[in-house]
Subunit: 329 residues, 4 copies
């Protein structure tokens, strides 16, 4: 039986990717798409490659009090614009919030789907993790869980993101092609909002941790993809090797369908268009452990994980609509 | 019932894309993958995002006399390397040759799937069109068919291709990132092999045509995509308008699932990862008609059309395995 | 003796490139820089790599009635914003207008510096050619001048530009990295404003010409560069060859310092950062002549030619400040 | 009086950039260019934008025993190919080795030109620093010199490089456009040769240091540029702030012409085509210090610093030939 699905924020990059994935989903029926500036357009005007049935859907003006009958709503709104309207959505409608407003907020489950799927199965309100945390936590979770990381020294997370992570808003020449191309820059030093989200999750994975974390996001000249390069201090006496880290991760992710543990450093391109995450490691004795996580920021970093969460919440196969192989090259 | 499928040249860009599409195909069962330099590897080593079942397939040394039981073989070999080996493939195995060796060759059907599907349904040997002809012919076929183009003056086809069209061979710094990036160049002036293929097809679509064609391919700094900008002389008295061209194309492609006629100039990005082709036009009286065709060179320009041809040849729904919406952005 | 120079529109891409070139000019002394939104900033805030002396200049609010003592003013303002203010600039100040408002306007000299330098030497008001005309006209001028082109049939100009040509304005996600990257699109079909400018110049080069021109600009994913691919009908009986075209061009541009006639298709990257233009040709009997022009759109297509014009107007060596070799790769 | 200069390895990216810079150098006269595969060509065939005089130089077969009269030789050879031949160059010819063979080798001076210019002035054999060390050391040297960094905990250097750093060799599809584009990957984990070079220099700057360094280079989809993001542990009681780090760096680099200390995170694009290095910092109490260094890998990371070293060695003004403003955008 089909599940009646809606998307608000459909014309942004995250919402559009949810739409794309739902278009191939065997049991999600798209019955409602909403936006702000794009309201009144048919979907095909924004997404010329959609099939005719979906393409003819008209984008509605977003109004949480005037929804059609829905089983599930994906919200992909700018940070700061979700709390109030989503509070008005009837309790019978399950919600996955792709934006940042409900992470580690009471009443919402943090949707780190590859790590805590059982909680998500029981939830009706799920906050999808941020794109950077999705890449970094996938790599470090197995090590923290296995107690291989010294809890006191700081942990460095150096992340590189494609420009679609900045959203479709545009309006600023700093995200323009001419300026992003042939450039790399760090931003949000010591104060990016994803830092708190990472810290809260690290604390949960390793409660003894002091969670001193330096997180530095970078903008690099590509459209999609995030690579998180994480530097962790090995626990005294752990006598770590690369192989040991790989084994720990393989065990941790056993039976999880979207995580691939690889013995060479992963390329973000391996994940393009998919919900996959690739993790790998390098370690040698007392040297810092290097933990790598590679994703598509619009896949595992946004829409892919959102659909995975929706599958878990609605009792669908976890990989429904998410089986397509990544695009390469 | 499943159709037993093989791919030779699987580790190239075209072969890899066939593999990706077949991985989501409801009735194609991949039973044979072959290559040269990659023989002996498991597929997952070349394509780390494949599902486990496909990923574990081992790439065989290509030998047309030692095939397993197959219903269909995709060949994606460098030009000049298909004729001899494919002649040895048993007649019972249907073949789609993605390479250039069998176009307009006796015994082979030219697989321009959006124009002549009925012929292809009856064929067992299909030569997949070249990437540039696929983009250009999609745009000009409706006009030629409707007799709107003056047959004598030359026709100009100016095409822009992503670098994946040069194949994976590498070996030449001219296809290296550092040199292709921030560059555009024309090549193959007056002598690219696709010129003859376009001319032969134009002749078939408009037998009176003199088919004086100038075809200029260009390499532009992107991975996937071809845009063909075609300049045609309107027939005396045709009194053409943009709208008239659009109508003619809509009628010509009525019920064809992969062609989208759009009233604004198409972006190649609209087609990324899909088998779609977007066509559009501008015309005003005696001015040259501008006919535009936009594709993914590895989709409609190679693997997508190959799978479409295979569907037609094997009695599958024409869009089996080809329904996924394009990736955007 | 130094020449006192000013730039209005200094924080845009064109104005910034004039600034960069003037920074290395042996006799231009920058005494005035002006803008709108950037007024009040020091130059170093916008251009962090400038030397200290230039970097400390403060951007003034643009007011043509309150200029310091100037010998020469470069204007790089959005189209439509030059006419009124530049009319108020004292006659003693020479002007090069890089914007589009004064091309083929009474009292202004069209600054096609490689073709008509003598006129420019006598001028005090010069309209710098547009970026597309600069690339296309460089390639076709020698053929028109030599009478090798049939005047009646249409001429097709298919041009490919980097995104910096759209200016710094930003504000539109269609020039954002995520959407321009991995994409090519045609725009302004049959109505781009540069069409009239090309037509007027063609008329001057070959008065008998009917100047039916189809001009199609394209946006491709690079920051700098324009390649114009031009298709011309050879004059009856001209018996053209590639070599003949090359000879005609070499003769036409003999002693012109910035034009390079090459026997292979030029790469736009050959010109990056410079005022060079590369032209080449392919011709064979009655087939359309293919004429290629490759430039840096901010060099020969804007700031480079502007400085060349300024040199001609002020009696400096034509290549003063323009001798640096292009950047490669 | 002019200085007679030669380049061996002129057709590679590093050698070509030395050539470009020397073309604008007021006192370097290029009298010898040599290569392997390119021997016999005129320079203009490889570098079509060179001026006529330089362009007509013929590339010689590299033979250290058959040099013309030279004052200075730039060597830009693949690692492993410098030691033997450069040992045969007459002592009267000063050498700057851009390759990796002579760093921290007896008889050769390490050419970290912004830090130790006085030593270089006296040297006749200078080993140019590697591209990654050039970016990273510029950022961390002032902090180490001021004793602000705890010597025991590990130091993390996470560096992002454009693809030209891999050299022109090509031959591998992994540096091809289609695969590098839309991708980022880490490589050389725990074993890149630049790690030892960084460690040796850190040891010299802070002898007490244990120099446990994790260095992770990344390949990102751009042609030029390196950003090094360095994570350092602040010394107990140092009570660090961002402003304190900036002050220390401004003092350390006072009067050094190519280092710019900026209060916002630097873009690599700010340095494109120049010998500049931009450094910035973020610090807050006990949190790891983030030290950023941004360069053009072919400028400060190779040819720019090589010319700077040559200027120091030959008594020229340090910035001769290096004054041009960077290219932007």
């Amino acid at each position: 039986m089909s599940i009646r699905v809606g998307i608000v924020g459909v014309s942004g990059y995250g919402g559009g990717e949810v739409l794309r994935l739902c278009a191939s989903h065997p049991s999600f029926e798209m019955v409602y798409v909403a936006g702000e500036s794009s309201a009144g357009s048919r979907l095909v005007e924004k997404f010329p490659g959609l099939n005719k049935k979906l393409g003819d859907l008209v984008i509605e003006k977003w109004d949480p009090t005037a929804l059609p009958k829905l089983d599930l709503l994906f919200a992909s709104l700018p940070t700061g614009q979700s709390r109030e309207p989503l509070a008005k959505v009837p309790a019978s409608v399950k919600i996955v919030d792709i934006g940042g407003d409900h992470r580690y907020v009471d009443g919402w489950t943090y949707g780190l789907a590859d790590v805590w799927p059982e909680e998500i199965k029981k939830a009706t309100r799920v906050a999808n993790p941020g794109c950077y945390p999705s890449a970094a936590l996938a790599a470090i979770a197995p090590l923290l869980h296995a107690g291989l990381v010294e809890p006191h020294p700081p942990m460095m997370i150096d992340a590189k993101s494609g420009v679609s992570g900045a959203g479709r808003g545009g309006g600023d020449s700093k995200f323009g092609f001419a300026e992003c191309n042939e450039d790399v820059v760090a931003y949000g030093l010591l104060k990016h909002p994803h830092l708190a989200e990472i810290a809260a999750t690290v604390k949960r994975l390793q409660p003894a941790s002091e969670t001193r974390i330096a997180f530095t996001p970078h903008l690099i000249p590509m459209t999609r993809g995030i690579l998180a390069t994480c530097y962790l201090c090995p626990k005294e006496g752990a006598d770590l090797t690369t192989e040991k880290c790989l084994q720990v991760a393989r065990e941790f992710y056993k039976d999880r369908p979207f995580v691939r543990v690889t013995d060479r450093p992963p390329h973000t391109k391996w994940a393009t268009g998919s919900n996959l995450v690739f993790v790998s490691y390098a370690a040698a004795g007392r040297a810092p452990i290097i933990a790598l996580g590679a994703i598509d920021n619009l896949g595992k970093g946004a829409a892919g994980q959102a659909v995975q969460n929706a599958n878990l919440m609605t009792g669908q196969p976890e990989d429904a609509g998410l089986c397509a192989a990544p695009m390469w090259p």
